[in-house]
Symmetry: C2
């Protein structure tokens, strides 16, 4: 256990005084103080251990000794900018390139996913000479101003949001809640046609499309898995309009999806024009990368503007990045993501069978979402219930989050060393909570209804039974709301 | 000496293959490979030592053991995001705040100067509800798209640059080469009036000004020291228009100016509304900060949009930031900057007396510029000569750079442990080169003139003598060009 510098109350006071109030903590009414972490576990100031199901940044496990060693040794030796030659930079670029399709061969090293996505836009603007960007609904691509513009997840939060005229929001290719669902004969084409419609409308206004940008799997947007063939069809439309396809792998890259190293590779034989990487790339060290084709890189160069990033590609960041790649390989973390992710999905599917609140289980590898609904037909988002689960899990020392446009999707993206035992533990707790939650809502419903009933002198409705025989407050809810 | 992974040629080949061609190396025809560094010295793959006069990022000296230790120890313990409470974050914010005027009390931690300046713009836009930004000519504020827009240093490089209608470029308050010079009775007012004119013109077009942004001392813009009172007068105009004053301390903060910790403090009693920090803050570790007032921070929060930065304010970055502050204090590096910077200025002033090419010496602490001109009246920039000096110094294992709009200002911004002996060494070499350069230009001039003369059948002009008795090719140049 590590000594604290301040008692928790003092930490909270200083934070209120000196840290921007827009910067939120988890569990704001009783935030957690974490003082150390190892693997998939975090420890608070009292030595209490939390299971981390959400930290996709600590990709190879918190404070992995190989990563720490690589960083510390290089810091001791040299940390300078990339205007000097250094072998770490070129070796790292070569190693990253080896994980990608051959035509994605030119790297730009930057410091964050936001810097990466902003640079991706600059590359696309310069290469195409066009201005407009097509983004997906509920997308989040970063916090710098150019990316707030293309992040409906963010700009929908603003009361007086004014959407840029050069940004077009396409339907999220969500097969559960979106416009075209599992029962649609060809959702990939239908969603891609929506992108094409936006392109045509932009053309009608005299606009031209520089890029389509999408996370290879939407994360904040609600753990959305696009249908097979969607990216290829979108790319056809976008290329025809002279634009580029930017695949944002900031949250989902580096083997997380299990079957492939990059999530865009889930779409067979698909190759984007630009790939952006971030979060897991340095296991928490601030670094990031943009990879593109020789053609795009040369066009950017021909603009005449040098690109210099003070910290990007420094020898320490590259040493850390190399160590992360080594650990992924050495510990077969991609394989682990495939195995444990599959196991977790099966456990969650059982929860779906058991609890009507669990509407959908979807995911690839250790990128998994469980969408909670009060009604499996109307898909009424179970937002409060999702929050309730998150808070109750926290009390039981498990860290999980809920996201998506309705904040009703339980989001699993743990460090890649997550084990089957960890999956057992979290799902068991969820099971217990869901049982409790059902009871709670059941009772609340009845007490609510009883009050109204009494007021109006009405009779209670007959209880609806679900497949597993227990009265379902959800089905009662949707028969009323 | 550290073993190389690749021979230098292989490093260069891999770099050409895998690193964006817009990312330039120093001394492109024969770049340097640096494998380790300590204090103000860098070492190449053959163990050759270079004196570093330019690296303001390695602020407390390359690979400072206290900084390395702080980073390594924290990496081993925990590196996670600021949604968990951590004492490093609040302690660091408190320590930074203590260096600033009281009203600058709220911090946002980010990863780079670019992220910091972009966030500063977002704060100003949100607080004021206005859109327009006034920036200085030749300014550089970062590489993300919003900052390219306000960086004439960058957008002037573009062939087809289209200046944003909401960006207004004010005169650089340059007393040597600008519109109002040393001989002007009140250059501070004159330059501030130019800003006010831009505000009035913006108002006439129905625009409103969100912010004025300037480096406290212009760096890439040519080591420009604004006249006393300029910032106060600008702030009056900008505040009257409802805008904010953003002081960019990314290059010049953390005691570099010697007399003060922040360069904006050179302007007596002046307090900006937002300060951005970067480069030296983490001695090379990717980190950065924006500090503002409670009022601005609350307005930003009231927009309803959370601000989250994945890596910003992580415990490792904060541990490193704290160590940098400790070293500055413990080793009295601000005092060293004052002493050695003053000494360096005096040595350079002697060069100015000796060599007509040296037109102006200006600076504060260890932020010093020597502007080279071919003509002290017309101020014809001695761009090629500046490049020549830089290259010749490199051959003698001294790293210096030339910057400013004409790339004719020798720019000193060394690690803060730079010594008087280092200053002696670099100025001695410059003296030797200037003498050589003079000779070279003298001979080239004569041979050039002789060729023309021969071709045209003309006579040579009579040699002009300078104060120290040697014929001056510069004075000859300006009598011809």
């Amino acid at each position: 256990m590590t000594a604290e510098m301040f008692p928790k109350e003092k930490t909270i006071d200083l934070r209120k005084k000196h840290i921007g109030p827009s910067c939120k903590v988890f569990f704001s009414h009783d935030p957690i103080k974490i003082v150390r972490a190892k693997g998939q576990y975090m420890y608070d100031e009292n030595g209490v251990r939390y299971l981390d199901c959400i930290n996709n940044v600590a990709h190879v496990g918190h404070s992995h000794p190989m990563v720490v060693k690589a960083g510390a040794e290089q810091m001791e030796l040299l940390n300078t900018n990339s205007r000097f030659l250094h072998d770490n930079l070129v070796q790292y670029a070569q190693r990253l390139q080896a994980t990608l399709p051959e035509k994605l061969s030119v790297c730009y090293f930057v410091n964050s996913g936001s810097e990466a996505n902003d640079l991706a836009l600059r590359l696309a603007w310069e290469y195409t000479g066009h201005k407009d960007v097509i983004t997906l609904d509920n997308a989040y691509h970063g916090h710098v101003s150019s990316l707030i513009n293309i992040s409906p997840y963010k700009f929908h939060q603003l009361a007086n949001a004014e959407q840029s005229k050069s940004v077009h929001v396409a339907l999220s290719p969500d097969l559960y809640r979106g416009n075209y669902r599992q029962d649609h004969p060809d959702p990939a084409t239908a969603y891609a046609d929506d992108v094409n419609n936006l392109i045509q409308k932009a053309h009608e206004k005299g606009h031209k499309v520089a890029a389509f940008i999408a996370e290879s799997l939407q994360s904040c947007g609600g753990q959305v898995i696009p249908p097979a063939g969607y990216f290829q069809k979108v790319a056809q439309h976008v290329h025809q309009a002279g634009g580029l396809f930017i695949a944002d792998e900031v949250q989902v890259g580096f083997g997380r999806v299990g079957t492939h190293f990059w999530a865009f590779q889930l779409q067979e034989d698909f190759v984007p024009d630009i790939v952006t990487m971030g979060k897991p790339i340095g296991n928490g060290h601030p670094m990031s990368c943009v990879v593109t084709t020789r053609e795009v890189a040369e066009a950017f160069k021909n603009s005449g503007m040098e690109y210099f990033n003070t910290f990007g590609g420094n020898p320490v960041s590259c040493a850390i990045g190399l160590a992360v790649l080594d650990v992924i390989e050495k510990e077969d973390l991609q394989g682990n993501a495939l195995r444990v992710g599959g196991y977790l999905m099966r456990l969650l599917e059982q929860q779906k069978e058991k609890h009507p609140l669990v509407g959908d289980i979807r995911g690839r590898g250790l990128f998994v979402g469980a969408e909670l609904v009060r009604d499996r037909v109307k898909l009424t988002p179970a937002t409060a219930e999702a929050q309730d689960i998150i808070y109750k899990l926290k009390e039981q020392h498990i860290l999980l989050s809920a996201d998506g446009p309705h904040r009703n999707v339980l989001k699993f993206k743990p460090p890649m060393c997550f084990s089957e035992e960890d999956a057992d533990m979290v799902v068991e707790k969820i099971d217990q909570i869901l049982t409790g939650t059902l009871n709670k809502f059941y009772y609340e419903y009845y007490s609510f209804f009883t009050d109204i009933e009494k007021a109006l002198g009405l009779q209670m409705p007959s209880t609806v039974h679900t497949e597993n025989g227990t009265p379902s407050p959800q089905s009662l809810w949707h028969s009323q709301i």
